[in-house]
């Protein structure tokens, strides 16, 4: 698609307090979504799976990254590998399962082309009669992989951008120092609960929602009770390095403000009793509180559909000890449900003629304008 066919920007003149959003078509147009798949999700580092979900060699997960299906697995040397989930022979999906475990090879169910856990073509009917078929050149196509904070990030770009700048940089921009996240030992924590939300909304609505807190007092009564400053509408993400302070009566980050779980011992005094939120573009949201970390991965599947996989991470002894994490999980599960309901409420209106030029951002939301500029920039040229 040529960039000239992108929906135009808002032309209306606005009062100084307001700033325009993206035009409605950015949230509905399949061509815009296809361009986002290529220029954003298939070009940037994409947080694909929790490394602990691949506990041993041969364990695998398939994830959609942009328009591609990617097979993520653990090789015999315990390193994590990722491949396009496409047989090099005639293009059949190697695996149609979301997860599973193979003993020592991936075999295409169509003609039995067989690849080892490093992706090398190791066997195929009559392969010995084709000595000119190089087993690496005709192996599964590799995707760049990084492991950080216990998650596996993949990048489909031929020349991946700097992980340090793009991913770690996003954390530094938000927290002030990338080392601040180390105090939460995210890689050492364990998934206590995972909830998968199938949201009928464009991924950008979800990002925008996560970035602002103008809606907090209206749709998040429980969260605003725990974090009273959210009532003024300024999100934790508005100021660099700022974490929202728990209310005075609040004992922990739980649905009723009761005590949470064992505190992560390396969390600093400054970080105690505070909530930090980070957006790692394009598809990760992280919340840090003293006793757990909430980690969202978005999987945009269509212009109007996004799957969000959310992990609640606790100290391993909390999870293994069978502690009751229900009230802890319930707080942000409610927040998620409230947020995603709001996003689904907006999605149908994105194609309304009254929203063709988009909506407006109030001052406490105007950092979302930077996100819009960023999206436009990625889609341009």
């Amino acid at each position: 698609m040529s960039t000239t066919s992108l929906p135009p920007g808002t032309r209306q003149s606005l009062p100084p307090s307001l700033m325009s959003t993206l035009p409605g078509a950015y949230y509905t147009d399949p061509d815009v979504f296809a361009l986002e798949q290529r220029r954003i999700f298939e070009s940037m580092w994409f947080c694909a799976v929790r490394a602990a979900d691949l506990p041993k060699p041969g364990a695998f997960k398939t994830v959609q990254v942009g328009a591609e299906s990617i097979l993520v697995t653990r090789a015999r040397d315990n390193s994590i590998r990722a491949f396009y989930n496409v047989c090099r022979h005639r293009g059949a999906r190697i695996s149609t399962e979301e997860s599973g475990e193979v003993k020592r090879s991936f075999q295409c169910p169509y003609h039995a082309w067989t690849y080892d856990l490093e992706g090398r073509l190791i066997a195929a009917p009559n392969l010995t009669k084709m000595p000119d078929v190089d087993r690496v050149a005709y192996g599964l196509v590799n995707v760049a992989v990084r492991e950080w904070l216990g998650y596996v990030w993949v990048c489909l770009a031929d020349e991946p951008p700097s992980f340090e700048e793009d991913v770690m940089g996003a954390v530094r921009t938000r927290l002030g120092d990338v080392a601040d996240i180390d105090n939460y030992d995210v890689a050492g924590l364990k998934v206590g609960r995972r909830i998968v939300y199938d949201v009928k909304a464009n991924w950008k609505l979800i990002v925008e929602n996560f970035m602002e807190c103008y809606h907090c007092a209206t749709i998040h009564p429980e969260l605003t009770e725990v974090l009273p400053e959210f009532a003024d509408g300024y999100a934790a993400q508005y100021y660099v390095g700022h974490g929202a302070l728990f209310g005075e009566e609040i004992q922990g980050f739980t649905v009723d403000g009761s005590a949470g779980l064992d505190r992560i011992p390396t969390v600093s005094q400054e970080q105690d009793r505070r909530y930090y939120a980070i957006t790692i573009k394009p598809q990760v949201f992280v919340n840090l509180v003293p006793d757990h970390v909430i980690w969202h991965r978005m999987f945009p599947l269509a212009a109007d559909r996004t799957v969000v996989e959310c992990d609640w991470l606790y100290l391993p002894e909390v999870v293994d000890g069978g502690a009751d994490i229900d009230r802890s999980v319930e707080l942000f599960h409610r927040v998620n449900t409230q947020d995603f309901d709001a996003c689904e409420r907006c999605q149908p209106a994105m194609s309304s003629r009254t929203y063709a030029d988009g909506g407006v951002l109030v001052p406490s939301e105007q950092h979302i304008g930077l996100f819009h500029d960023w999206v436009r920039g990625r889609l341009a040229d």
Binding site: A112, T114, A123, A124, P125, L127, T128
Partner: protein, 118 residues
């Protein structure tokens, strides 16, 4: 007696495909034994030297039938016929194979080609 490869070039757990007609696979087991069998699975043209060696058995990489390196017997379908076994001689650090005189149980397409070549 055909020279296959130097003993030191075939570590334990590895296999060597001897490019004769029909090809022969030589295996060095983890226990240090050396065995030779026909390289081609009796079900479909696949190289058993590319398969997985476990103890005294090799599993075909395509459809997982397992062949006993000592007897050539197959454990389970889709392969039904055994592979031939060949005598192995190690002399002066070289592995030699003495090909069997028995008729080979080659899969359909391969059998035709071998007859044509003969």
């Amino acid at each position: 007696m055909i020279p296959a490869c130097p003993l030191r070039s075939l570590p334990r757990g590895e296999a060597f495909r001897l490019d004769v007609e029909p090809p022969i696979a030589v295996f060095h087991t983890e226990d240090g034994e050396i065995y030779a069998i026909d390289d081609t699975c009796t079900h479909q043209d696949a190289s058993l030297a590319d398969g997985w060696l476990e103890g005294c058995e090799v599993e075909c990489p395509l459809h997982a039938s397992k062949f006993d390196l000592r007897t050539g017997q197959v454990d389970a379908p889709p392969a039904k016929l055994p592979v031939r076994t060949h005598r192995v001689v190690v002399e002066d650090d070289t592995i030699f194979v003495v090909p069997s005189d028995a008729p080979a149980n080659l899969p359909p397409g391969v059998a035709v080609r071998c007859q044509g070549a003969a």
